[in-house]
């Protein structure tokens, strides 16, 4: 009887079929179908899982390493289920986009994309640390090759930077996991509860996790790989990087942080300060940038800063805010990068100075851009507002000064997005590149419509993600 592993098996089947058929039309269809099936299965499991229970559900287990008494086990719970749903959804969108935009070597592009989505999903669904680490690193192979083979002129350098940062800092995760194995008794997540160590050691363990995950998210002093990797990648990969891969780090923090509530209160001010500085600093970077793709890359970097800060508040609001906002951020960042690709498609340029007054030529595109930017700015009724409210209230509960920093960053976020909208869509009637931009056609409108409707739906019904999260957090103690 097949269970939850179908989410992984359909992409695997898709990769196999792509391998044996070479016809580019069929390949796109196979990729789309397999990712769609995987999304639908994830959705059906998501809607059916019991939100009153705290443990992993729909467990499906295979014997893996008997010498360490370790099984390969996949499962769903409150924390990882939304992330799996996000990943499968973004995969479908990215494949739709890639069918239209990727010109050469489409078969291997699709195969690598499915492989990436597969390993990220397996990462989210894993129930023990070894499996978690295994897929945390395994996802590097497809992503590095995607950046390098289909990227821009400096793609090799960007891919190498991305690889070295992630692979390099994963040694801290490696050591932390082995420490959990020896102090806790096994690789399963639940062994974090029974750690037999004193407080300074536990703090060191926490820092091991934080260092590894902060590079993946990334938070500012560790963000060196971000601009190159986002800028050099082809747009489908950029969307995947920003919407899903950054969430891997956030998910990792969410997974472990509740077990560290007893030591967290002594350091959380400084960690949150770092995250908020990242939030504001990258907002300034975005303000200064002229290139649309770079602006959106820094926007993505900026927002994950405040999301990460929420995880360290140690209270329920912050925690819920992180979960909700990660999903919201994934959807909206994907939408905005998608718009950047639409601008780039006919003009081959991301320079915001060369566009202008698009609102007359392309009313539909203007409408969707403006709604997504409004959503990102925290317009009430759209999805980002709820998450921002939860995050800010969580931070304010912990420390008022940090709360003010957060509000300041949110305000800055509105400024640069409005600024880019003004420059591209409103001012300077006769700009050189604007005349080449065509308005969106049916299927593009469909995708943007999907993003917008999702934004409205999650804005009105955040319980779709949040219901039942209360019990999990109260586990830790402070909550």
């Amino acid at each position: 009887m097949m269970g939850i592993e179908l989410i992984l098996l359909f992409p695997l089947l898709g990769i196999f079929l792509i391998w044996i058929t070479k016809n580019s039309k069929v390949v796109s269809l196979i990729a789309l179908l397999s990712s769609l099936l995987s999304f639908l299965i994830a959705l059906s499991y998501y809607l059916n899982f019991d939100r009153t229970k705290q443990d992993f559900q729909f467990l499906s287990s295979y014997e893996w390493i008997s010498a360490w008494k370790l099984n390969f086990t996949l499962g769903f719970d409150h924390i990882n289920a939304p992330f799996v749903l996000l990943t499968t959804f973004i995969t479908v969108v990215v494949i739709l986009l890639a069918i239209k935009t990727v010109r050469d070597k489409i078969a291997s592009f699709m195969a690598f994309l499915l492989l990436l989505s597969l390993s990220v999903n397996a990462f989210f669904m894993s129930t023990n640390f070894l499996q978690f680490f295994f897929f945390y690193e395994a996802m590097l192979i497809p992503s590095v090759l995607l950046i390098q083979r289909w990227g821009g002129d400096n793609s090799s350098q960007a891919a190498m930077k991305f690889l070295i940062y992630t692979f390099g800092f994963s040694i801290f995760l490696f050591i932390a996991i082995i420490a959990v194995y020896y102090y806790g008794g096994g690789f399963s997540f639940s062994y974090l509860e029974s750690l037999k160590m004193n407080k300074p050691t536990k703090l060191l363990l926490l820092f091991g996790f934080i260092l590894a995950f902060f590079v993946k998210i990334p938070v500012v002093p560790f963000h060196g790989w971000l601009k190159d990797a986002y800028y050099e990648s082809p747009m489908p990969v950029t969307i995947f990087l920003s919407a899903v891969l950054g969430k891997m780090g956030i998910y990792g923090i969410l997974r472990v942080i509740t077990y560290f509530n007893d030591v967290l209160s002594s350091v959380n001010f400084w960690i949150m300060l770092l995250c908020l500085i990242s939030f504001i600093y990258s907002a300034f970077l975005a303000l200064k940038a002229k290139d649309i793709k770079v602006i959106f890359a820094y926007m993505s970097l900026s927002h994950v800063g405040i999301i990460t800060a929420g995880a360290f508040t140690g209270n329920l609001h912050g925690y819920q805010g992180v979960l909700l906002q990660s999903i919201n951020h994934g959807i909206l960042a994907a939408g905005l990068f998608y718009i950047a690709e639409l601008l780039n498609r006919d003009t081959k340029s991301f320079d915001s100075e060369k566009f202008g007054a698009l609102s007359k030529r392309t009313p539909a595109l203007t409408f969707f851009t403006f709604s997504l930017i409004m959503a990102m700015g925290g317009f009430p009724g759209l999805n980002y507002f709820n998450g921002e409210l939860l995050l800010l209230s969580g931070i304010f509960k912990e420390n008022a000064v940090l709360g003010f920093l957060g509000v300041f960053g949110v305000a800055l976020g509105v400024v640069y997005l409005a600024w880019v909208f003004y420059r591209v869509f409103l001012r300077k009637p006769a700009c050189e590149l604007s005349q080449f931009v065509k308005d969106i056609v049916s299927w593009e409108a469909l995708i943007l419509c999907l993003f917008f409707l999702l934004s409205i739906y999650l804005g009105l019904n955040p319980d779709f993600i949040l219901s039942g999260v209360r019990e999990i957090v109260s586990l830790g103690g402070k909550g």
Binding site: I65, Q148, F174
Partner: protein, 451 residues
Amino acid sequence: MSQYHYLIPEITLLTLGILSFCYGFMRRESKTVWIFSFLSILIPIILSLFYFTENEFSSGLIKIDPYRQFLKVLIYLSGLFVLILSYESFRKSSKSVEYIFLLILALCGMAIMIFANDLLILYLSLETFSLSLYILAAFYRNERFSIEAGLKYFILGTLSSILLLASIVYFYALTGSSSYDAFRLINRGEFSMLIGFIFLIASFAFKLSLSPFHAWAPDVYQGAPTPVTAFLSTAPKVAVFAALLNIFLEIHSGIKLNEFITVISILSMFVGNLLALRQKDLKRMFAYSSIAHAGYMFMAFLLPNHALLSSLIPYLVVYVFMNIGAFAFILGIKEGEKISSYFGIGKNAPLFAFSIVAILFSLTGIPPTAGFMVKFNLFKNVLASGYGELVFFALFMSILSAFYYLRIVFYIYRDTPLFQTQQNGRLNYTIAFFSALFLLTLGVFPNLILI
């Protein structure tokens, strides 16, 4: 008479080897000789599996138990693969018969070295295979580099033999016996025993190309014919590691050599990984990479007995297949030791490119390849014994290794339509593919290898 049946595979190997040598010597008909010698390695492998015993057999001179038999099969397998890899390079050579015979002789010496339970047998078997390897390294008689490689290997190898003899003398003086069993009798605090062990490890470190005894490795690896380099970097290392393992299991970690081992492995990892960064020649790069890998494996000797076995043996298996695979792809394309030959393989030969990528990621230690699993296993065990700083350093070094391994991957997927890759033989190609497949399978199902 009955005790001989434990050695039937080795006797068969030697007999069949001599027979095929005589046949080849008289007829000089190369194709038949290749098939015949292929069979004379394959049959002992099948026989070893057939005669595999769980119980331990020990005479004064040799000892046979499950893990030794396993490592012996590993050596035979690597010999078999090297023979297949040699076919393209040596089939037109007039000396191919001699080449094969030397290979089989070396395999035989290594098998005996693994079974040895006496220091003199150890010395004899070490010399048996070393002498064959010296000649093999200098096999291209008309090339300057090959002669240089053979000579360098010979001179430094002799030095290591002298060190081994010195350590045997020390042990004999202490115990009055050359058997491994006598190690138990030694008074542990004895200073001359410490000297004896340091000589022993130094002599083996030459063969394992551990730093600071590594100076010969890059030149020999570069100068020797590529199939011989593949052989040099796998089989002798397994044999010498196995011999060291036997001795360490016998003394029951009753001796304090931890600082010495730590220093050697740190130096090897450092030198290997750092100098590999700047290499233009891939064979030279793999020499440094094998120095680094030997450094990782040498850390296992800090562990107690069971952990030592369960971390070293899986690593050795995977290491052999990674290196055979690596040299298979170097042989698989024309001028494979130049990095510029790798341009655009991704487009011309996607399956071959896939094998290269899998092998290189495995060497770096990134999942889902077997290289990750064995590295994780080893580092986990070493960390558990309380060598946190050492493991941290090793991890840092293995990140450095990503630079030089993955540089090749980036060359593979760079598009240059002008450039046609010159492929060199279907056999090499197949071996690379199979070792890649093997590494991926072990990476996804680590249960097959982790004990």
